[in-house]
Amino acid sequence: MLTSVQEILKQLVPIYPEFVLIAFALSVLVVDMFLNGRYTHLLGWYSLIGIVIAASMTIILGGVQGAFFSGTVLLDPFSQFFKLVFYLACGLGILIAMKYLDIEDIHRGEYYALMLFATAGMMLMASAGDLITIYLGLELMALSIYVLAGFMRKDSRSNEAGIKYLLLGAFSSGIMLYGMSLLYGLAGTTNLDGILAFLRTADLKNPVLFLSMVMLMVSFGFKVAAVPFHMWVPDVYEGAPTSVTAFMSAGPKVAGFAVLLRVFTHTLDPLHADISLLLSGLAVLTMAVGNVMALSQTNIKRMLAYSSIAHAGYALVGVAAGGQEGAASVMLYVLIYAVMNMGAFGVVIMLRKAGMRGEEISDFAGLGKTNKTAAFLMLIFLFSLTGIPPMAGFVGKFYIFKSAVQAGMIWLAIVGVLFSAISAYFYLRVIMLMYMYDPKEEFGLVQSPALALALAISVTAVIVIGVYPTPVLEFARASVAGLL
């Protein structure tokens, strides 16, 4: 009996990190019942311990590569890279949430459990070796996020965000499933390597193949917020609790890119010419809409939503460029993006306190005078989002556009740089407000050790990666090796 348990545990080694996260999530749910609403923030720190343990397991498993569980789960440097990004996003998401949940009066243990479930889902997406695993990982993530988006039960904006995200998410899942079913019908298998093997010998002109590829593109495009599948983003980002928005803008989007890269640059690689054409079209649209629409926003969360759309556009340029360099540039970009965006949301969350929503851009007026540190951090994050050297955002963009030029898509790089020039307007507006206007009224900012830690981590990452990106860049390049 004992040996068989050991046997089973041994077989589970490749999914230990996911296993740990789910176990922690379950225990959070159980413990929460006994805590009776007190000391809930301890559950946050407890969840962080879970993340750290899972992260160290992922690192230990770094040497293990290959397909497990009949090919449904893959362990490779590619998935490990993304898992580390997810840990980062989830950890930062939990840190910035703790105080905020108190203020919103929604501090319940389920929050942390759902964050962990969502993270486990994202990790499964990244290491999926089978369409079924992709689908299930995606749904696990999405379902948790639907609930998180509607987490403020008494706030009808939050409810609305939840239902909007759910309806559109389910709609896009329906499209994805249809595409997956066609792909299965063609290839006779749902295994990604199997599909690749099939495509190597198949007639690539088969319209059904194109149809299924497009349907997958639509639903993955939905997850990464590519135009025209982006419409949910501003509304959901605005309505969801800010800490959830921060997590959403980093986690699920990055997970979407993990799947996008896995499926489009690995599995469907024989179709690269078509994919590249369609994706570059989507990338241009995405950059255009994201950057232009961000200009006229008055709500900071909506502005950051459009900015996150725009950033998805830059990353799509890298996917369209394809190849080792393209994929590596996307990976580096999403990492940097996740960190700087979480940081920006971390500052936004500081403005929220009882009696003041702190979501209007005009609320930032005079922040440079009332709270120098917060304003300066925001300045760094916004400069990084604009792509001004030596912040990390510049390195990310540089590498993306470089890989596009290298892949012979100079026009795409030109368009990208042009739109990134436009983006200076709306990031600058916030900076102007912070430094060049007087505060409307005296207000203190909400501070907490957890939030401070989150901001310290992200600002350090933004500056260090900006000044010395080589290790991270090498890491991304090494991680892409298993993909192609």
Partner: protein
């Protein structure tokens, strides 16, 4: 090695101290700041001597971005060109720091001002010292940022804040070219290091073409043109010059340091740095030369009728930068850099002196409300006169040597050169005219000052006048390091010779050269005399003329209505309704002119887009479905 690193680091430390502890240091922040730049200057001199003795420094500290076997390093390079720039930047920066102690005395943002100024100096030094394009770009972006902060320094003034944004955004357009050029260099050469790139810049490479949306373009030409787009933004050339006149909203020392002596010359420096690339492409060189010449003339004509003392000098800066590009464009790289150097001195002098005038008049900048100041502020008048003579190009002032070296090279550059020479000479005439119009309006004639203002007129304190006198001294003498005619007497060109192997030497006909020199001095003198007649002897002439040619006059006064033209092209031509979207979207109005035009267009698109975002889930789903249908439909396009 350490002493070279200290050149940029000292100002950076100055920035940190003044920035972090400004609250406690109060006006002592200035001491720290001046100490920082002065230290940098001392080390720069030492570096200059090393270079003069033949030590070229090119050192990498660490690899910044490492992509496979390609790497971009953070490293510094000090060669002859950098050494010259280091001297100019640190010397002027020191003087202007000292001057600012007097000028900014009592301002509530005193320590903040010095912190920004130090940060600017740091980035400017990074810009000139970088040994590859990316480090240069870091400095490039950095100086842009500081310029934005300093223009908007008095942000309570709305126009100042707007001007800051305009400068930043216009520069982003230029940076767009720079980034693309850099990317193309990276993919073409596989490196961004100046030495490696230039080593590979061979005529064979110049023959290679690249397909750009169906048009075959020489790859080197494309790179150079993209870089030049960057240069036009930073150095205020047509069509991206619009930000510089507005930038005069900043404190005057800022105008002197950033918008005359250093930052605006970054574009010239960059083109000169890339001389080995540019000299491979005739097209690019011609574009540079023509842009420079046209800007030189164009800005000069606007300068003829402006009434704001600083704006006249601003337009003259644009015009002089045009001359530098004209020189570079005909291959006279060292002449261009020479003009950059002399210009830094006399234009810095003019700005600081105008600051002294404004200071004396309690903030008045309109020349129509000045006059007869020469007896009241004697030192300022004297140095202003020296600066103007240098600007007008009268022998033996500094401007004469550099401008004539450029014009002589232009004259010898084929048939295109001859016509550009004519343009340049016309510009020189106008330069002389408007710079003395300024002198006469300000210092001669009857006083048109308000009574209160007149009562308070006073000479500036020594902390301001001493830097002025030092600059005046150099404005007279610095030209002699570039003596023409006598063999080997052009020390400046000899010094820079190793950096510019492709220098096109002027003709050898000394007789002709002397003739042309005398001719151009005469032309300048005519301008001065004409200004004298119009503005001192018979002051009715300008008004009469303005009346008679009111169309031309208004056109010039309104700066050719370029701002309006940009508005028309980008807004009216494309969109019917002119709604002030940006007014509505927040209380931040983004400047007039070109920037506003594009911004408004985009802003309108943005507003329309907002209306499409109706909040109805089904609309969102429908747009997704539409995307699906279009993407499926693409099958018939691709197959």
């Amino acid at each position: 090695m350490l002493k070279y690193i200290l050149i940029p680091l000292l100002p950076f430390f100055g920035f940190l101290i003044a920035g972090l502890f400004g609250k406690y240091l109060k006006e002592r922040a200035a001491t720290v700041a001046v100490g920082g730049v002065l230290g940098a200057f001392v080390f720069a001199v030492s570096a200059f001597i090393d270079v003069a003795n033949g030590t070229i420094i090119d050192e990498n500290f660490y690899s910044w971005i490492l992509i496979g076997n390609l790497s971009v390093n953070v490293g510094f390079q000090i060669d002859q060109l950098t050494a010259v720039m280091l001297m100019v930047v640190t010397f002027l920066s020191t003087l202007i720091h000292i001057y600012s102690i007097g000028y900014m005395h009592g301002d509530k943002g005193f320590s903040r001002f010095f912190a920004y100024l130090e940060l600017f100096t740091f980035f400017m030094l990074v810009l000139v010292m970088g040994n590859n394009f990316l480090v240069m770009f870091v400095g490039w972006e950095g100086v842009g940022l500081c310029s934005y902060l300093l223009i908007g320094f008095w942000y309570e003034k709305k126009s100042a804040a707007d001007a800051g944004v305009k400068a930043f955004v216009t520069n982003r357009v230029g940076d767009f070219g720079f980034v693309l050029g850099m990317m193309l260099i990276f993919t073409t050469f596989g490196t961004l290091d100046f030495t490696d790139v230039f080593a590979q810049a061979t005529p064979q490479l110049a023959a290679q073409n690249i397909d750009l949306l169906g048009i075959e373009v020489g790859i080197v030409t494309l790179i150079c043109l993209l870089l030049f787009v960057g240069a036009t933004g930073k150095s205020a050339q047509i069509p991206l010059y619009v930000w510089l006149p507005d930038a005069m909203e900043g404190p005057t020392p800022v105008s002197a340091l950033i918008h005359a002596a250093t930052m605006v010359t970054a574009g010239v420096f960059m083109v000169a740095r890339c001389a080995p690339l540019f000299s491979l492409s005739h097209t690019a060189m011609n574009v540079v030369a023509v842009t420079g010449a046209v800007t030189a003339l164009f800005a000069a004509t606007i300068g003829l009728v402006q009434n704001d003392i600083k704006r006249v000098i601003a337009y003259s800066t644009i015009s002089q930068l045009g001359y530098m590009f004209l020189g570079l464009g005909v291959g006279a790289f060292s002449a261009g850099i020479f003009h950059l150097t002399t210009h830094a001195f006399f234009k810095g002098l003019l700005f600081l002196a105008s600051g002294s005038v404004i200071h004396a008049l309690s903030g008045e900048q309109d020349m129509r409300k000045m006059g007869s100041l020469r007896r009241k502020i004697k030192i300022t008048y004297a140095v202003f006169l020296i600066g103007s003579l240098a600007l007008a190009g009268i022998f033996p002032f500094a401007g004469f040597f550099s401008k004539d070296e450029i014009l002589w090279s232009v004259y010898n550059a084929g048939s295109l050169g001859r016509s550009l020479w004519m343009v340049g000479l016309t510009g020189a005439f106008m330069t002389a005219f408007y710079s003395f119009r300024l002198i006469y309006l300000t210092f001669f004639g009857k006083s048109r000052m308000d009574h209160d203002v007149e009562h308070h007129v006073h000479e500036s304190p020594p902390v301001m006048t001493v830097p002025l006198m030092i600059l005046a001294f150099f404005s007279i003498t610095i030209g002699f390091i570039g003596m023409p005619l006598i063999p080997h007497a052009n020390l400046f060109a000899n010094f820079l010779a190793p950096v510019f192997p492709h220098v096109q030497h002027g003709g050898t006909d000394h007789g002709l050269e002397i003739g042309l020199m005398i001719f151009s001095v005469l032309v300048a003198a005519t301008g001065i005399v004409m200004a004298y007649v119009w503005y001192v002897r018979d002051t009715r002439i300008p008004d009469k003329l303005a009346e008679k040619f009111s169309g031309v006059y208004t056109l010039l006064l309104n700066k050719y209505r370029v701002d309006e033209l940009y508005n028309y092209l980008f807004v009216d031509g494309l969109v019917h309704k002119l709604a002030g979207v940006l007014h509505r979207i927040g209380d931040v109005k983004i400047v007039d002119g070109a920037v506003n035009g594009v911004a408004r267009l985009i802003g309108q698109a943005s507003e329309r887009g907002r209306k499409m975002q109706t909040g109805f889930v089904q609309e969102y789903a429908f747009i997704m479905g539409l995307g699906l249908v279009v993407l499926i439909g693409m099958y018939y396009v691709v197959k």
